[in-house]
Subunit: 451 residues, 2 copies
Amino acid sequence: MSYSAYFEQAKEQQLNELKEWLSIPSISALSEHKKDINQAAEWLAAKLTAAGLENVEIIPTKGHPLVYADHLHAPGKPTILVYGHYDVQPVDPLHLWETPPFEPSIRDGKLYARGATDDKGQVFLHIKAVEAILKQEGKLPLNIKFCIEGEEEVSSPNLLEFLQTGAERLAADAVLVSDTSLIEKGKPAICTGLRGLCSLEVAIHTANTDLHSGSFGGGVPNALHAMVSLLATLHDDKGGVSVEGFYDDVAPLSAEMREEFVKQGFNESKLQQELALDSLYGEEGFSFVERVGARPTLELNGVYGGFQGEGTKTVIPKEAHAKITCRLVANQNPQDILNKIERHLRAHVQPGATLEIQQGEKANAFNIDPSHAFLQAAADAFEKVYGVRALFTKDGGSIPIVETFSRVLTAPVVLMGFGLPDENLHAPNEHFNLENFDKGLLTIVEFLKSV
Amino acid sequence: MSYSAYFEQAKEQQLNELKEWLSIPSISALSEHKKDINQAAEWLAAKLTAAGLENVEIIPTKGHPLVYADHLHAPGKPTILVYGHYDVQPVDPLHLWETPPFEPSIRDGKLYARGATDDKGQVFLHIKAVEAILKQEGKLPLNIKFCIEGEEEVSSPNLLEFLQTGAERLAADAVLVSDTSLIEKGKPAICTGLRGLCSLEVAIHTANTDLHSGSFGGGVPNALHAMVSLLATLHDDKGGVSVEGFYDDVAPLSAEMREEFVKQGFNESKLQQELALDSLYGEEGFSFVERVGARPTLELNGVYGGFQGEGTKTVIPKEAHAKITCRLVANQNPQDILNKIERHLRAHVQPGATLEIQQGEKANAFNIDPSHAFLQAAADAFEKVYGVRALFTKDGGSIPIVETFSRVLTAPVVLMGFGLPDENLHAPNEHFNLENFDKGLLTIVEFLKSV
């Protein structure tokens, strides 16, 4: 039977299985979901076994477990390591979800659930592609390993540690990752660049208690004033970052790179309309795809302090908090950037306010040459299934482990994504387009059979 | 029996009664406490009746009810209207309370509970002072009315409306209010000035959904960036307010006023130490008591947007919120100030961000001449009980109804407060010093018998 026919008849059963997995709220950032994380790992291990993979193991770590499996019966053929993650982002603000995030629901050819596209849905494709080849042909045309982790959304601290000592077990000729997206419907892409990441949390403390704005207002520091006036210094009024030295290690955009970006034919006014924005906003002198693909950024992900309830409370808050992340490019070093930001904040804080800074995640940016054979094979596979050759793009996101894999395993990483850019990953109403579910399965089979 | 002896023997019973009232979480700002508000009003009506007052009535309004009572059997004598409130402020952050806010607890001679000093504890003194005179002497030396409302903490919208039509019922020769404080332990004060108030809520909206900071970061507006950069424009770096025209109707401080402020002998370094602050902070060129007593202010009471949970979430938030209040002085008109702030905000908002402004409360500042006979009688009463004459001060807080009473009833308002400035009103661990509970009862009896 053709693979198309095979997947067509298996579809309903496969979607039901995926919905089961998506029902497990495996949020890695929130400790109360530890049980769900474990359940999601067990579900995955069972499915890998059922697919015909061997040496399936749930490997405990200091944090959330890794799930490993392999099938190594093609001597002389290359070994591919499939990497992905079974953990998901938090779901708030919950009230904006049209259907509950952990009650998967199909509407208009899209599967809605937290993790549908990032990344359970995409990992699932690889399991089912391998299962299909084994069922149809009784063997695999190459050697394959799976390493699926539960901490990608919190920057993979324990996989990084595992790689320090356990790299041999994951040794491969190439790493295959599906955690990125097509350019748009029908326009596949292979990502050849990912931004790095660093994060920090900032707290400001003023008095040792909240104070009445009548009795004290005007005469004591207000933690929120101190916070907003401090945070406002981080950007200039042209959308750039004002931290001294922030851009030191950012490579200027070459003419060739700018040309590649133009090739994507990105429609800015369509995006603006889709997001219901009066205007896009960003660093002056760059297009949207350049800003996201090749420029670093400093984002406020959360700011809070004082009264948030209904009505008015005339309080002078004693503390205020901010959560900040940067996306990094080229040779920016995450530790260096964190140090520069910390220095900036300490230099600009208002008198009477005490600053507390906690540095968090650190990941380098990733870049790969598109002429590599494995990347060309991936582009061929896309072309066979989608009818158009994949473009080589730069993605604005960060998958911290990708740069580490490429460095530690000295293997090319093939970023073959089946998501779409508007699938609300990390936001309410995350979903996965089922057209790419179908085509994704076929593209992976093509790729595995061709390398 | 002397009044001292009377109150001494009644003390335990009276404190138990007050604790009962303080156990009722009558938070006017939060609609889920409507039942508690009604219960607190009923409790109050019952106690007024038990004290010997007449015509006790719970007067419904569109919001929370007023409680009225009177005793009008002294023809030819003046009529005093006692005003106060039985509603309380919200209690968050709850985790900072040493004992639960609605489980009153006495420690070190202080009664801890939300509402202990603001204002249930102080209203309670008046009920018990009147009860004492009636029990000891069988009659009152003057006519008295009580009007205790349930909406002071949300700016008295319905009492204001009641005063438009029902002012006759509240007609009096003077209004007596205990909702302010002594200068410090043993140093009584009569407040001759209160700041006005206006409030607004600001919302900023950017995209129609939260966005992933990888796929979009750097290329779209971030509601939190827009909010902090906008809020930061409201103040200059000398602690002043930057809104055009904000200070237009603020009277300059006269040499006499500055002298009055100096007389208070306020210890700034002691305050700084008590609040564990590196330094006080405020408008350049003014002392703490001047800043709080005679200068206007613009405070951020709450700011929030994006992710507030544990860990990191790489989200670009679609909305951000701020709650703002101003304290006003002299001839500043609250509506005029709100319009000026709104104009400022609309002129400074960042491209790509949509601004939504909701104007809220509006109250004029209040000022009274200390030479008035009722104020001098109050100072005498304080002197008899505390052994030192009360100083005439300006308080930084706002009791919006005070200015309205003085205007609508054309009666002087005597602000005879028994709180202390460090009793954490509007903050965790609000309390009432029992020394002033005891002396407050005696002072009120002295005052009522002398006018």
